[in-house]
């Protein structure tokens, strides 16, 4: 019974926090851009989330007649399922982890590579030009950034000697990995933003040129699923950064779970700040940046980490 209830509670909390994040983001962006943001509904505008949910659920759920219907419906589900699956391997605290999988890190990479299908199929099934452009951009971007996302994490694997996220966290009891792996941290963060296609790397849905990119044709809760999926992606990437580079649940005085939540929220806020502070690159700049700078840097980091490990053994 316990094994069944815990994951359900975690799922519920995740969905709620992803929904709340839509409000948090708009509110904080507002403060950083010297305006109020949504502050009308409830105290501090907190009930804006509820209002948005009512709006999304009651809107007409329209499937365009020219769309590939089955795939059109499946596409938004894929991103939700993949992102929620990703949380199964995150060690929230020494006691709280849904599955302690030996190849947890590979599982995470598999999840993130499968979530490409969501964006791609959404663009394909919409059968419209802007959606196709968005999907093409998203797919090329995600495949490219996936390559060195995986490579950058191998430095952590070399240092900890394991693919299991729990063992990686335990290996950081003396020194958090962001100190020896500072380059990998930078690469992983940039790749993470590109994977969850958020600003400044939100070219797949850049509203200033291709309407809304891959989800142009989506409305109602199907659009809502892409939206929530994106926020879940942000939380997942933040949780992975904390687990891999910032010692996971470890920290003095406070209980482990609280440490984990604090660190993760700090990175979620950082992602929002990034959106407020950075301009978008051009699409060709984005791709060139990935292949010409990030990939060689990731390889160099891997080489140096391996050499260091062999030297000290």
């Amino acid at each position: 019974m316990h094994e069944l209830v815990t994951p359900l509670i975690i799922l519920l909390i995740l969905l709620l926090s992803a929904a709340t994040l839509t409000w948090v983001e708009r509110r904080i962006l507002g403060f950083w851009q010297d305006r109020y943001g949504p502050n009308r509904v409830g105290p501090f505008g907190l009930l804006q989330v509820v209002a948005d949910m009512i709006k999304l659920f009651t809107k007409e759920d329209w499937i365009p007649p020219f769309a590939d219907k089955v795939i059109f419906v499946i596409a938004p589900m894929i991103v939700m399922i993949m992102m929620l699956l990703g949380f199964a391997i995150i060690p929230f605290s020494p006691q709280l982890q849904i599955v302690d999988f030996d190849n947890g890190l590979l599982f995470f990479l598999a999840i993130s590579s499968l979530s490409v299908y969501s964006v791609m199929l959404a663009g394909f099934s919409s059968n419209s030009k802007y959606a196709l452009f968005g999907a093409l951009r998203a797919t090329a971007q995600m495949i490219s950034y996936e390559v060195f996302m995986g490579l950058s994490l191998m430095g952590v694997v070399i240092l900890s000697g394991s693919f299991s996220l729990r063992e990686i966290v335990e290996a950081q009891s003396e020194q958090w990995f962001f100190i020896p792996q500072i380059a990998a941290l930078g690469i992983f963060m940039i790749a993470g933003i590109a994977e969850s296609h958020r600003a400044p790397f939100d070219l797949p849905e850049a509203e200033h040129e291709i309407v809304a990119g891959f989800h142009t044709e989506y409305s109602s809760m199907k659009f809502g699923m892409f939206f929530i999926g994106e926020y879940l992606g942000v939380i997942l990437i933040s949780a992975m950064i904390v687990t891999l580079f910032f010692g996971g649940w470890q920290g003095p005085l406070l209980p482990p779970l609280l440490w984990f939540l604090l660190k993760t929220s700090a990175f979620v806020l950082f992602f929002i700040l990034l959106r407020a502070a950075t301009p978008r690159p051009r699409y060709d700049q984005l791709m060139a940046f990935g292949w010409k700078y990030m990939l060689p840097l990731a390889l160099l980091n891997l080489l140096l980490t391996g050499a260091y490990r062999l030297w000290t053994q």
Partner: protein, 172 residues
């Protein structure tokens, strides 16, 4: 329990592989192939090769098939190509292939049957293979193969670079 899961995964893999063939819409066919990859990954996982299972998803389902769908999506001609495809392909055409495949299947079953019966008698414990074992094998006895694969990939990379290169005017 594992045996039941294995047979379900195998059935899904076979069914989706068969369904790949008669689709008129190329993207639908490719999606069935993706499901085949996922089912094969599950089979690897059930056999204790978790590392291979993860790689199967990352490499095949997550990269190679994505590129397949990517290219097909760009070349997608809509209803026209689907109708064209429907005219080109009729189920009766694959009759010969089906008969020949069944012959091969029967042969395989004949060869496998004694092994299967033997295994049922001595159902051994699941042998879980970790990443370390795979690494030791790859960079120990199979080092030459790894090097050859690396060489092959490098050649492919140079070839792709050559094809994708912008054609420049040759100065006269």
């Amino acid at each position: 329990m594992i045996a039941v899961l294995f047979y379900i995964a195998a059935a899904v893999a076979l069914l989706s592989a068969v369904l790949t063939v008669p689709r008129h819409n190329a993207v639908h066919a490719l999606l069935y192939l993706v499901i085949t990859m996922l089912a094969i990954s599950l089979i690897f996982f059930l056999l204790g090769a978790a590392f291979a299972a993860a790689l199967q998803i990352i490499v095949y389902a997550g990269a190679i098939m994505v590129l397949f769908v990517f290219v097909t999506m760009m070349l997608h001609q809509g209803e026209l190509s689907i109708r064209q495809e429907a005219q080109l392909y009729r189920p009766s055409q694959s009759f010969g292939a089906i008969v020949l495949s069944i012959v091969l299947l029967l042969e395989t079953l004949y060869l496998l049957a004694p092994v299967l019966i033997e295994q049922q008698a001595t159902a051994s414990a699941l042998n879980v293979i970790g990443a370390k074992q795979i690494g030791l094998q790859l960079f120990g006895p199979y080092l030459l193969l790894v090097e050859i694969a690396a060489l092959l990939l490098l050649t492919a990379l140079i070839g792709a670079f050559h094809i994708a290169r912008r054609h420049q005017e040759i100065p006269t």
